[in-house]
């Protein structure tokens, strides 16, 4: 470990945070444009060229709005809620391998901030802590709608985490590692996990939708029943934090799905191109982001197409359908490896 590594990691950390924020910001713009495209509308087109400055205008508006903390709210927790949501959303990005390795001047620079050997568990831990942001925020508001929303959020996230964890077990069985970087290496070329774990992928993506509170699982904030759900009482940038955290979560879940099932920065025919390794790394990163954007589009597409579940149906789906399927997936994967590899 020498000082260049520290400097490199610090700079890279800032770059990743910046990219996360910018993509989350432009996801709001993208969402509105996608919605407009699906609904025969134009979408934002006033601020700047094609409305490209709209996210900045929205952010500015959020900052300028009056900050309201209800008198009956628990002040400390009320402020803590959005902070937790935002922080945990940002922290997940550090274990994701954004690319391969760059070699500059004989030194190797990995395009991953921290290659934890339990990377997947870290992602899960962060996502689980993210629930607290919503729970605390909803409870501290001292509003019945917010409370209902946060209860829904908590139970939904906890129940879907189980099915999600089960699919990961099957994935670990087939890849043999918990490190995200190694999982990506394992899917070299076109050997993506989606082809080996199709059922696991389906369960995982459904759970990812539930974890990010996106439609059709957006019960905690469904506007027609609970007004704003857990963020009913929030205003100004605290509300902005919650909304922003949702978009960051969407970006990060897309990145996690792309890493686990779509081969991360791998791309097909990578060995046949005959380019220099550095160029290939950069190309791989670009391809990774392309996958992420595709998945973000999928998130939006589904949001603007499907109605949302009812609370009990959501629980039924999570516990009675996805969990047995996930267990079956583990057994099937295990049986496959038992009969093919050990005999």
């Amino acid at each position: 470990m020498d000082w260049t590594l520290y400097i490199y990691k610090t700079i890279f950390l800032f770059i990743i945070f910046l990219i996360t924020l910018v993509i989350a910001m432009y996801s709001t713009y993208g969402e509105r444009k996608v919605a407009a495209f699906m609904q025969d509308r134009r979408g934002p087109n006033r601020a700047g060229l094609f409305g490209l400055l709209q996210p900045i205008a929205d952010g500015l508006k959020m900052f300028m709005k009056e900050e309201i903390i209800p008198l009956t709210a628990n002040r400390a927790l009320f402020i803590l809620g959005p902070s937790i949501a935002m922080t945990t959303a940002m922290l997940t990005g550090v274990v994701i391998p954004w690319g391969g390795t760059l070699t500059i001047g004989g030194r190797e620079f990995s395009m991953q901030i921290a290659d934890l050997n339990i990377g997947i568990l870290y992602v899960f831990a962060m996502v689980s802590i993210g629930v607290y942001g919503i729970m605390i925020g909803g409870w501290a508001s001292n509003n019945k709608y917010a409370l209902l929303g946060s209860i829904r959020a908590a139970s939904q996230m906890i129940s879907y985490e189980i099915a999600m964890g089960m699919t990961i077990v099957a994935l670990i069985l087939s890849t043999g590692t918990l490190s995200l970087h190694e999982i990506v290496e394992h899917q070299h070329g076109i050997h993506w996990n989606i082809f080996y774990q199709p059922l696991g992928f389906l369960i995982f993506i459904v759970c990812a939708f539930a974890e990010t509170n996106r439609a059709p699982f957006d019960l905690p904030e469904c506007e027609t029943e609970l007004i704003g759900g857990y963020h009913t009482e929030y205003s100004s940038m605290k509300l902005g934090f919650y909304l922003f955290a949702e978009y960051i979560n969407m970006f990060i879940s897309s990145a996690v799905i792309a890493t686990l099932y779509f081969g991360g920065f791998n791309m097909p025919f990578i060995d046949q191109l005959g380019l220099s390794p550095n160029l290939l790394t950069l190309l791989g990163s670009a391809f990774f982001f392309l996958k992420i954007f595709g998945l973000i589009f999928l998130f939006m597409w589904i949001r603007w197409t499907l109605p949302r579940f009812r609370y009990d149906q959501l629980m039924n789906l999570g516990w009675k359908k996805l969990m047995p399927l996930a267990i079956f997936n583990i057994l099937a994967t295990g049986a496959y490896y038992y009969f093919t590899e050990f005999n």
């Binding site: 699906m38 603007w304 009812r310």
Partner: protein, 411 residues
């Protein structure tokens, strides 16, 4: 428990019951996104389940029935606009027909058919709002925007016919204020051509969607006998399986000349109400098409009001140049035309159900008493019975599928 709820429920926040359960009181409305319009439900909740509901009405009560007692007959039309504001022309036509019944005015077939075109357009506009809002309340916003383009187009047709869009004040007692313009005919024909595709697109999005079906089937189901006991009419009764339609049972405005199907549901749940409305829109298109065909066969293309001049304003050139015309104009505008003594009840199949007008005249320039039979008022009374024991999400969908419109509820 119920006793406790009814006596002091404003004062208490959390109510405990004998079984040591904690209930929670939730105010849904008057400014809740699910209450389209202004009405309130105070719900006693056991977690997500509704234990008891008490509905409050009258937030936008404007005393229309009382105001009507001080207004000459033609000035009551704008009041009817504001009953069910999603389909004002239907209310307007119903009111005109009521007065015609009192006065004994006979309208020609052409006027009847013109009215039927307008009424069926209004029915489509109303049903499409209701159905697309069911989509919005269940979380699918996109279908709403598909159908709203069509509603916009219907409003353009209204604009061509009478000059206004939402609160139309369309027509006069005895017919219409002017003939339909060529542009209006073009737009009606264009609408007939394009709307089925839009409707199909919307239906494809929702009607066989698994999540939507799970959300709506057996939600807010209401048995036919209870519905009849409450006095349900219209699509909400037909969804329960009772084929009652005023257009067929007691035809008015030459509906007997038309051939159409009354769609009925099976168990009166939200999905049935959705599908009944969906099918009724198609039938309405069919009726409009028949009306256009029938109008083509009528050689007379100019008559747009009854032969009775008592309520039809003379043309402006005559008013300016002819003394008798000026006097008639003045008498009509001041409400000085002779009204016979008597009482009539006339009901039409409005978009939401049987809209009745009970009119008592003592021969004065204004009604002595006027009562609107407003279907929404009846549906809303049954609302607690429909949602008790269901979840909050179901209550929201039940409300939007019954199409309770605050203007009509509160009058």
């Amino acid at each position: 428990m119920a006793q406790q709820f009814n006596t002091g429920y404003w004062a208490k926040d959390i109510v405990s019951s004998e079984e040591h359960k904690e209930y929670n009181i939730l105010n849904v409305g008057p400014t809740h996104p699910a209450t389209h319009g202004v009405f309130q439900n105070v719900m006693l909740m056991d977690g997500e389940f509704i234990v008891e509901t008490e509905q409050t009405i009258g937030y936008i009560h404007r005393a229309f029935e009382k105001i009507a007692e001080r207004r000459p007959f033609y000035q009551i039309t704008p009041l009817t606009d504001r009953l069910n504001y999603c389909s004002s022309p239907l209310n307007n036509m119903g009111w005109h027909m009521t007065v015609e019944k009192l006065l004994g005015i006979e309208t020609s077939k052409r006027v009847d058919y013109l009215r039927i075109i307008v009424m069926e357009l209004a029915r489509i506009a109303d049903h499409l709002i209701c159905n697309s809002v069911i989509g919005v309340d269940s979380g699918a916003l996109t279908g709403f925007t598909y159908l709203f383009q069509s509603r916009e187009f219907i409003y353009e047709i209204y604009e061509e016919i009478c000059g206004s869009r939402l609160t139309t004040n369309m027509g006069r007692i005895g017919g219409f204020e002017r003939n339909f313009s060529d542009k209006a005919w073009d737009k009606i024909r264009y609408f007939l051509k394009t709307y089925p595709a839009h409707l199909q697109e919307f239906e494809n999005l929702l009607s066989r969607n698994r999540i939507f079906m799970d959300r709506t089937i057996n939600v807010g189901a209401f048995p036919a006998d209870r519905a009849l006991a409450y006095g349900f009419t219209g699509p909400n009764l037909r969804a329960c399986g009772v084929d009652y339609d005023v257009r067929v049972m007691n035809p008015y405005c030459s509906y007997e000349d038309f051939d159409f199907i009354i769609p009925i549901g099976q168990n009166g749940d939200t999905y049935d109400r959705f599908m009944v409305r969906q099918e009724e829109m198609k039938q309405s298109l069919h009726i409009i098409q028949q009306a256009l065909d029938k109008l083509d066969k009528i050689p007379d293309k100019e008559t747009f009001y009854a032969a009775d001049p008592r309520f039809v304003l003379p043309p402006k050139e005559k008013v300016y140049n002819n003394m008798e015309a000026l006097i008639w104009h003045f008498k009509i505008v001041m409400g000085e035309t002779d009204i016979p003594v008597g009482e009539v009840y006339h009901s039409i199949e409005a978009a939401n159900g049987e809209l009745g007008f009970y009119l008592v005249s003592d021969g004065g320039r204004t009604p002595s008493r006027l009562h609107f039979r407003r279907p929404c008022f009846i549906y809303y009374q049954a609302y607690p019975e429909m949602v008790t024991g269901n979840m909050l999400s179901d209550a929201v969908l039940t409300m939007s599928s019954m199409n309770v419109i605050a203007g009509e509820l509160d009058a």
